[in-house]
């Protein structure tokens, strides 16, 4: 006997917690808080999304795992430390994805292709091979549930790197030059929230494409190349 409890969209937030983000920690945590508050007011959309928040620096801190935002009232508090290891970030998602998908399926859900939203203000650590785990993560032969990756670069982030990280060029975004970083972070979370609500709604409407809203003050990375 099999029961079908519905279709879920796993969403992963990969937040850069490297030292250079320290001045903007307040905006980071405020953005998360706003995301949580909004999803509480959107129970129909929130029911179809499961949120995992990972903070990466030298290593990866797991703040929430497949959280159901209809019942999560307290957002995690991010903290900054160390350098910018994309390798650690992508390896963490790569390792946990099969487990997460299996867990949701075991609970009786069907699963849409996951979405990863990466926010970073810097260049990945030099000398670290982040491309290998990233390639494995994006290769649907290696990772059948390979996620759609939306890469948002702020401050010193390189448009070229964002283009490499994002799963399609339309998903690579960078804040406009001279943009206020605090505002850019805030608009990232506004766009993330909108994307989650819209994607949740579109799952409801039987059209399960990931809806990505461009954050205000961002432009397509491809425009910058």
């Amino acid at each position: 006997m099999s029961d079908n409890r519905g279709s879920l969209l796993p969403v992963y937030v990969l937040a850069d917690e490297s030292g250079s983000m320290t001045p903007h920690l307040g905006e980071l945590n405020k953005g998360l808080q706003s995301l949580y508050e909004t999803m509480l007011t959107e129970p129909m959309a929130a029911a179809k999304v499961r949120l995992t928040v990972l903070g990466f620096a030298d290593d990866v801190a797991t703040y929430t795992e497949l959280a159901d935002l209809r019942s999560e009232y307290k957002p995690p508090e991010l903290s900054t430390r160390g350098s910018t290891s994309y390798a650690a970030a992508f390896t963490a998602v790569l390792n946990r994805l099969p487990h997460d998908i299996g867990r949701l399926k075991a609970e009786g859900y069907r699963v849409h292709r996951p979405a990863v939203f990466l926010l970073s203000d810097g260049m990945p650590n030099a000398g670290q091979d982040w491309r290998t785990p990233h390639r494995q993560l994006c290769d649907r032969a290696t990772t059948p549930a390979a996620p759609n990756i939306v890469a948002c670069g702020i401050g010193g982030a390189s448009p070229e790197v964002m283009l490499e990280v994002a799963s399609t060029a339309e998903f690579a975004l960078v804040s406009k030059p001279a943009a206020d970083l605090g505002k850019a972070i805030s608009s990232f979370f506004v766009a993330l929230t909108k994307s989650m609500v819209e994607s949740g709604r579109s799952l409801a409407a039987g059209n399960a494409e990931l809806i990505v809203t461009k954050p205000e003050g961002f432009s397509m990375a491809i425009d910058e190349v």
Partner: protein
């Protein structure tokens, strides 16, 4: 002494109303509940036919004539002793009268039916619906139902909980009609693609266009129905709408796709040469059709729909009208005496899955016999979290399942 049609102990506390078993046959198809399964969702106590309200005439202010019998307050209170009440007569209610009601209940006030939503597993968020924005008028729910000499039909199209919550219109639509000369039942269900801003209009145009074309073909007594023509007519209705009276050209086809994209399943049920109902279907997009076996509760999928079996993640790609796939997905099947034809959009199909879950069991129990028309919509409007898309479902049973005589 127990009532002759008293509650079935298996139904204790489930609120199953007596229309299900009043025909006496349903128990034969009642599936045994799996020993380790959770309690099945309760079927609603459908609003059911009641005897005509008793008539209590006002007091006659005039004095009684000399010799007249004293006023009889019971005179209009109900049938006289030995007379059958309307709902005790065979066929007194369309779907089984309240046989278990004590005779002394004739004077009781009619009970308000249980309107509560049918819950499956964890129900969805509870809220009051917001009105759909915009025009034209788009009612929340469309319901229909009737019988021909051949089949009994029920149809419901309900706005999804997601659209009710956000105040957006129902994007599903449907149409059903009888071709009188042949007794064929023609139908169409359509699911407007939400990315298209006027997909509700598209679903309405496509379903009506398909049914109209089927009726025309039957009128013309064509040797074989041209299903490509049916689909092209439905697609054309979208393009013509986009053209707005101008000469349709390819630019309008693109405009029609952007504005009115919709899925479609159209079909016909008609008697074969031996008088057995046979079903023909055509499909564009991911709306589906199934045959439910009333005996064992299995659902046979008649048309391919999206599902995750064998895939790591769900795929939801859909090619809707006005695009016309080639070849077209078609299906023909006989509607046997123990089968129910179900045709529905993915709002129903996704929740049904392979039919072996709680939703499949609920609809097996609820559709083993044709329910009341409004009860059918009530059932389809079940609440289960994450399933909040619009739902359309057409169900067709062989006519012999209802106790009422043919007229």
């Amino acid at each position: 002494m127990p009532e002759p049609y008293g509650p079935d102990p298996r139904d204790e506390g489930l609120g199953i109303s007596d229309w299900e078993r009043s025909d006496g046959w349903r128990a034969d198809f009642d599936p045994p509940a799996p020993a380790d399964s959770p309690a099945p969702p309760a079927l609603p106590a459908w609003p059911r036919p009641r005897p005509r309200p008793q008539y209590d005439p006002p007091e006659d202010p005039r004095p009684a004539p000399p010799g007249a019998p004293p006023s009889d307050p019971q005179r209009f209170a109900g049938p006289r002793a030995g007379e059958p009440r309307a709902d005790d007569l065979p066929g007194g209610g369309p779907h089984g009268g309240p046989h278990d009601r004590p005779h002394n209940a004739a004077r009781a006030e009619p009970a308000v039916p249980d309107w509560s939503v049918v819950e499956v597993g964890t129900p969805g968020h509870v809220f009051e619906a917001r009105p759909p924005a915009g025009s034209p008028y788009r009612p929340d729910t469309v319901v229909d139902g009737w019988s021909t000499d051949l089949v009994t039909m029920r149809l419901a199209c309900v706005r999804g909980y997601g659209h009710r919550y956000s105040g957006t219109p129902r994007e599903d639509d449907c149409a059903v009609a009888v071709h009188e000369a042949t007794g064929s039942v023609v139908f169409a269900v359509a699911d407007g693609v939400s990315a298209a801003p006027q997909s509700a209009t598209g679903a309405a145009l496509a379903s009506r266009g398909a049914v109209t074309d089927l009726l025309r073909q039957l009128d013309a007594d064509v040797p074989a129905l041209d299903w490509t023509h049916v689909v092209r007519t439905a697609a054309w209705s979208l393009v013509a709408r986009a053209a707005g009276g101008r000469e349709p050209e390819s630019a309008y086809a693109e405009e029609a796709e952007r504005l009115y994209a919709t899925t479609l399943v159209a079909g016909v049920v008609r008697a074969d040469r031996y008088g057995v109902p046979e079903v023909h279907l055509v499909q564009v997009g991911d709306s589906g059709a199934w045959l439910l076996d009333r005996g064992d509760g299995r659902y046979r999928r008649l048309l391919a729909t999206k599902d995750s079996h064998g895939r790591e993640v769900l795929s939801s790609g859909v090619t809707p009208l006005p695009r016309v796939p080639s070849p077209l997905a078609q299906q023909s099947v006989a509607l046997g005496p123990s089968s129910v034809l179900l045709v529905g959009t993915d709002g129903f199909g996704d929740a049904l899955g392979d039919g072996e879950g709680a939703v499949g069991r609920l609809f097996h129990r609820g559709l083993s016999a044709p329910p009341p028309v409004l009860g059918f919509a009530h059932l389809l409007d079940f609440s289960r979290e994450t399933f909040d898309d619009d739902r359309t479902l057409l169900a067709v049973w062989p006519r012999h399942l209802l106790p009422e005589p043919r007229r």
